[in-house]
């Protein structure tokens, strides 16, 4: 039962990713990517990692994808995109993602109650994740914080040029 659920989630993740890659419209591709990430969250849950599953939703689907949507809005692939988009506005494009999302949701709901029978045989509770991260891997956590700081500095300096430009004009 758990194994078939796992392979179903894997199939959804795979299909959604392929579809996301093959889309020419950025917004539609992103929605497929979000579905793919939610599928990966279900896979994590089935493998006995509820904390990783929750983070997959909070961080990837909830934060990083939001950044992607922001970028799409800011680039606003306007004129050329608009005409192309009209061709693709057929609602049938949306049938597949909706179906995939529905399968996933039912599966996630099913999976939530069946924590005991995990695919890997070992369940990792959120508490264990915390104990491991701040135990043996403490150094990695501190390095991660520095890496994130470096990321912030880098992102700022990439965006700085346009800030200066907008100031001058």
């Amino acid at each position: 039962m758990m194994e078939s659920l796992f392979y179903m989630a894997g199939f959804v993740a795979f299909t959604a990713t392929v579809l996301s890659l093959s889309r020419t419209n950025a917004t539609h591709a992103l929605i497929y990517l979000i579905i793919s990430l939610l599928a990966v969250a279900v896979m994590f849950y089935l493998m006995g990692a509820p904390f990783a599953a929750a983070l997959e939703i909070v961080v990837y689907a909830g934060a990083i994808m939001v950044l992607f949507v922001f970028v799409i809005m800011m680039l606003n692939l306007g004129q050329a995109g608009e005409q192309r988009e009209r061709q693709w506005l057929a609602p049938r494009i949306w049938i597949v993602p909706t179906l995939l999302a529905l399968i996933l949701l039912v599966e996630m709901a099913l999976a939530i109650t069946q924590i005991s029978g995990t695919t890997s045989g070992v369940e990792v509770t959120p508490k264990e994740v915390g104990l491991t991260l701040f135990g043996p891997y403490l150094l990695a956590v501190e390095i991660a914080s520095m890496l994130l700081l470096a990321g912030l500095v880098g992102a700022y300096h990439l965006g700085r040029r346009s800030i200066d430009r907008s100031r001058q004009s």
């Binding site: 509820p50 929750a54 983070l55 909070v58 909830g62 939001v66 809005m73 959120p126 508490k127």
Partner: protein, 321 residues
């Protein structure tokens, strides 16, 4: 009747209850604001004007179900739907009493945070799909606001998680038998309260819909039922945030034994709903840059401070006992 059947019935009660509560809230809010501002508010239809809700519903249902031809049609319809679904799913983990809850998972709090973070898409996609300048700007603005406050919202709850040692909402309620977290986590409560208003973009933090600048923000092009769904999502968010404040900081369904837990839970939640409505009447809307500075420069440091203080106090008290 088996336990499962009872819970299924309860789930349907929650479903209908939440939607009707949100509908009644539209009338209740106008009445309460009316009293506050020394006027009547809607008082014509039925006792105290409560049938105004039905009248509004009929009016919205018979409006032109218009999807702008210049919009990304499917995303346009999908956006308000996503908001209502995400907000409604948030109620699935709320413990209404000791036995009355839909599901109690060990990552309940993270589930709630995940659902609120998915609500950002409704605003973003609604603004993007409308293909209208106001909607685009409003969508971007509200998304920036929502993501900013999401960070503190998660962090402000970590004090509660630290003291409980669990993400399960039922466990958090039970841990408050000896004392509500609203005292020991006063800073967390303060930040969560503000972040909650900003997250459900209610007045005074309704900048995405600031009428004088952006007409109606991300839902400028929305009308009829799809507009109503955005409003429904907003009111559901208000109720959900009130429920979460009650659960996380005010002992949830805990209360004197002579009345059931559901009563205490509803009473506390109702109190916070009134608080949010009256807040709207009392405080003017800040400027957008003020709102963002408040978040990053005041609330984020406060949350971090709260974590540091809570950690030190809890550990030294534990060592002393």
């Amino acid at each position: 009747m088996s336990e499962t059947t009872a819970t299924i019935i309860f789930a349907l009660v929650v479903l209908l209850g939440a939607v009707s509560a949100a509908a009644v809230l539209t009338w209740f809010e106008r009445r309460l604001l009316g009293i506050w501002q020394d006027r009547y508010g809607p008082n014509r239809l039925g006792p105290l004007g409560i049938f105004q809700v039905l009248a509004d519903m009929l009016k919205l249902l018979t409006k032109h179900d218009w999807v702008p031809p210049f919009s990304d049609r499917v995303v346009f319809v999908f956006a308000p739907t996503a908001l209502v679904v995400a907000m409604m799913m948030g109620f699935a983990v709320v413990p209404f009493s000791e036995t009355l809850y839909i599901i109690d998972i060990d990552i309940g709090l993270l589930f709630f945070l995940g659902m609120t973070s998915l609500a950002v898409y409704a605003v973003l996609l609604g603004g993007l799909a409308s293909n209208n300048k106001y909607a685009l700007l409003g969508g971007l603005r509200s998304a920036a606001q929502m993501v900013s406050y999401e960070v503190f919202m998660g962090l402000s709850l970590m004090g509660v998680v630290m003291l409980t040692g669990s993400f399960s909402l039922q466990a958090i309620v039970l841990a408050q038998v000896d004392g509500w977290y609203c005292f020991s986590q006063i800073l967390g409560l303060y930040v969560f309260l503000i972040a909650g208003i900003a997250e459900s973009h209610r007045l005074p933090f309704d900048l995405p819909e600031a009428e004088h600048e952006l007409t109606a923000g991300f839902h400028t092009e929305y009308s009829g039922m799809k507009f109503a769904m955005f409003m429904l999502g907003e009111y559901l968010g208000l109720i959900l945030i009130s429920c979460m404040i009650t659960t996380l900081f005010f002992g949830g369904w805990l209360g004197p034994d002579w009345l059931p837990g559901l009563f205490w839970f509803s009473l506390k939640t109702f109190f916070f709903i009134c608080f949010f409505i009256l807040l709207r009447a009392a405080i003017p809307r800040p400027r957008y840059d003020q709102l963002m500075s408040l978040g990053w420069k005041v609330l984020l440091p406060i949350t971090l401070l709260n974590l540091v203080i809570t950690g030190a106090l809890a550990l030294s008290l534990q060592g002393a006992s």
